[in-house]
Symmetry: C2
Subunit: 318 residues, 2 copies
C-alpha cells in the first residue's frame, strides 16, 4: 500500500514522480482512490483551469506550448493535461507532436501529463476531474486541459474548465466545422492561430458574424474576444493570457467562477453516486434479499416495481 499522506506531501512540494503516482492512482480507480481524494480536498480550489479545443491542424499543441512559456514568464506554475479520448495509452505516452512539449521538460515549474480515456469507466467525465485535482493540490496555478484528436468530447473538456479557449485557423472552413461541433457555444475566448496566413482576417470576420459580436449585449455580459496569434513565433500569445485573465476577473467579480465550479462538482458527484449505486446493486446478485424478492414475484405476491422499491430502500442500510 502507498503511504498516501506522504505522497500528497511530496506532490505538494512539486515532485513530479509523486504527482505522476497520484494521477495513476486516481485514474486507475485504485482501492486507495478515496484516501487520495480525501487528502487532496483541502489543498484544492486554487488552480485556474483553462480548456483548449479546436480541430486538428489549428496548432493546438504549439499554442499550448506557447501558453506555458507565457505563463512561466509571469511566474506561474503550470500543469498540462493532454487528453486523448481515442487512445488506450495513458501516462508516459508522448502523443504525436507532444514532443514539442519537450521545450519544458527540464522546467520544474511545469508538469505535463497525457491521459487516455478510451475504455475508462465513465471516460473523461470520470478521470479528468480527479487528475485536475491532483495538479491543483500539487500547486499548479494554471492548468491547461487540451484535447488530442477530435470529437464530441471537446465539449466535455470545456465543461470541466473555468475558461474555454476555442482555437481556429484560416482557410480550414473551421467556422462551419466549429458550428457543427457546437464548440462555438462554449468559447469564452477565441483564438485565430496561424494569423500570418492568408484569410486570417476573413476568419475573424466570419467568427465575429457567427458569434453575433456586432449585436448589442446587456451591460456586464461577457463579450468573447477574438485574438490573432502565430503560436509558432509566440506572437499574440501574451494577448491570449491577458484575455484569459480578464475573463477570470470578470467571473470572479460576479461570483460566476464559484458557480461554474459548483455546477461542475455537482455533475461529478452525480457520476460517482450513480456508479456507486450500480456497484451496490451488482453486489446484490446472488444475495438473499434480491433472490427472496424475485421468488415473491414468481409466486405473484409482488410486482417487480414494488420489489425494486424494497431493494432501493434496502441499499442504504448496507
Amino acid at each position: 500500500m502507498v503511504d498516501v499522506p506522504d505522497l500528497v506531501e511530496q506532490a505538494r512540494q512539486g515532485r513530479p514522480r509523486a504527482v505522476a503516482r497520484l494521477i495513476s492512482l486516481v485514474e486507475g480507480a485504485s482501492p486507495q482512490l478515496r484516501a487520495v481524494m480525501a487528502a487532496l480536498a483541502p489543498l484544492t480550489g486554487n488552480a485556474y483551469v483553462v480548456g483548449l479545443t479546436g480541430s486538428p491542424g489549428v496548432g493546438k499543441s504549439t499554442s499550448t506550448s506557447a501558453l506555458i512559456t507565457a505563463y512561466r514568464k509571469i511566474g506561474k506554475r503550470v500543469g498540462v493535461l493532454a487528453v486523448d479520448p481515442s487512445s488506450p495509452f495513458s501516462g508516459g505516452a508522448l502523443l504525436g507532436d507532444r514532443v514539442r512539449m519537450s521545450d519544458h521538460a527540464s522546467d520544474p515549474g511545469v508538469y505535463i501529463r497525457s491521459m487516455a480515456t478510451r475504455g475508462h469507466l465513465g471516460g473523461l467525465a470520470w478521470s479528468a476531474p480527479q487528475a485536475i485535482r491532483v495538479l491543483d493540490a500539487a500547486g499548479c496555478e494554471v492548468i491547461l486541459v487540451e484535447t488530442v484528436g477530435v470529437g464530441q468530447s471537446e465539449v466535455e473538456i470545456a465543461s470541466q474548465a473555468d475558461t474555454s479557449v476555442v482555437l481556429l485557423a484560416p482557410g480550414m472552413g473551421d467556422g462551419i466545422q466549429a458550428a457543427k461541433a457546437g464548440i462555438l457555444e462554449i468559447g469564452d475566448v477565441y483564438v485565430v492561430n496561424k494569423a500570418d496566413r492568408e484569410g486570417a482576417d476573413a476568419t475573424v470576420r466570419e467568427l465575429n458574424h457567427m458569434l453575433g459580436l456586432g449585436e448589442a449585449r446587456a451591460a456586464g455580459d461577457w463579450r468573447p474576444p477574438i485574438v490573432k496569434t502565430v503560436a509558432a513565433r509566440a506572437e499574440g500569445v501574451d494577448e491570449v493570457v491577458e484575455a484569459l485573465e480578464k475573463h477570470r476577473a470578470w467571473m470572479e467579480e460576479r461570483g460566476i467562477l464559484a458557480e461554474r465550479r459548483s455546477r461542475r462538482a455537482a455533475r461529478e458527484v452525480e457520476t460517482i453516486a450513480v456508479t456507486a449505486l450500480r456497484e451496490r446493486i451488482g453486489d446484490l446478485r446472488g444475495d438473499r434479499r434480491l433472490s427472496a424478492l424475485a421468488d415473491r414475484i414468481v409466486r405473484g405476491e409482488l410486482d417487480p416495481y414494488a420489489a425494486a422499491d424494497e431493494l432501493v430502500a434496502g441499499l442504504t442500510q448496507g
Copy 2:
C-alpha cells in the same frame, strides 16, 4: 385516467382491446404503470414462455404460426409477442410476413402483438417482461416470444423465456453463424426447418457435433433434442410441441423452472431499481442538497467521493 382494475378484469376475460391497452400502458411507462403491474401480479405465473430465435430466412414467422395452430389443437390459449429491436413502430404494425399470422386473426384464443424496442428506455430488458406479464394475466397459457430481425437481442429474448427454441435451415451456413452469435449455448430445443430441402440431414449432423450431443452426459442432464420440420406444411410441428412439453416437465420436476423465473425476476428488479435511482439522482439537479455538497467541494471541505456517499445516503430518505 384509465380504470385499471376494470381493464385488468376485461383483459382477464380475454378481451383483445383491453390486452392491447394494458400492453401500451406498460410499454409506454405511463404514470399508471405501477398500478397496472400491482394489479397484474397475483394473476401471473401461469403462462409457459417459449422464445424463438434464428437467422432471417429460417422460417421463424411460419414456424410461429404453425406452433400457434398446434397449441390451439390441444386447446391452449396462445399469446405471441413479436419483438423487433430495429423498428421504432409498435403495436398495430404488422411487420413483413407477419401477415401470415392473419390465419389466426379471427381466433379469440390467440393474441398477437408486435413490439418495437428501438429507442425505448431500457429496450427489450425493460418492456418485454411487462408485456409478457400482461399476456400471462390475460390467460394465455403459452406465450411465444419471437424476434423479428437479427442481432444480439436474440440472446436477450432467450433469457426471458422458460424454454428457448433455436431455429435453423439447411444450406445457410447457419451452424457457424449460430455459433458466432452465441445462440448455440441458449437452445433448449433445436429445430431444423425446411427439412425437405437438400442438406437437412447434414445440418442435423453438424448441429449434433457442435452441441456435443454424442458425448456422455450426467444422468438427468437435459439433452437438447433436434427436431426436423417443414413448418409451411405443418410437418414435425407436433413433435416440436412434444419436445417443448418434455423440457417443461423436466424443468418442473427439478425445480429448474422456478429457478429460471426467479433469476429472470431478479434481473428485472435490478433494471428497474437502477433506472429509479438514476431518476432520483436526476431529480436532485438544482436541488439544495446536491448544490450544497458541490459548494463544500469547491471550498475544499469535502471530496467528491465523500459527497457521493452523502448523496446516496440521502436518496432513500426521499
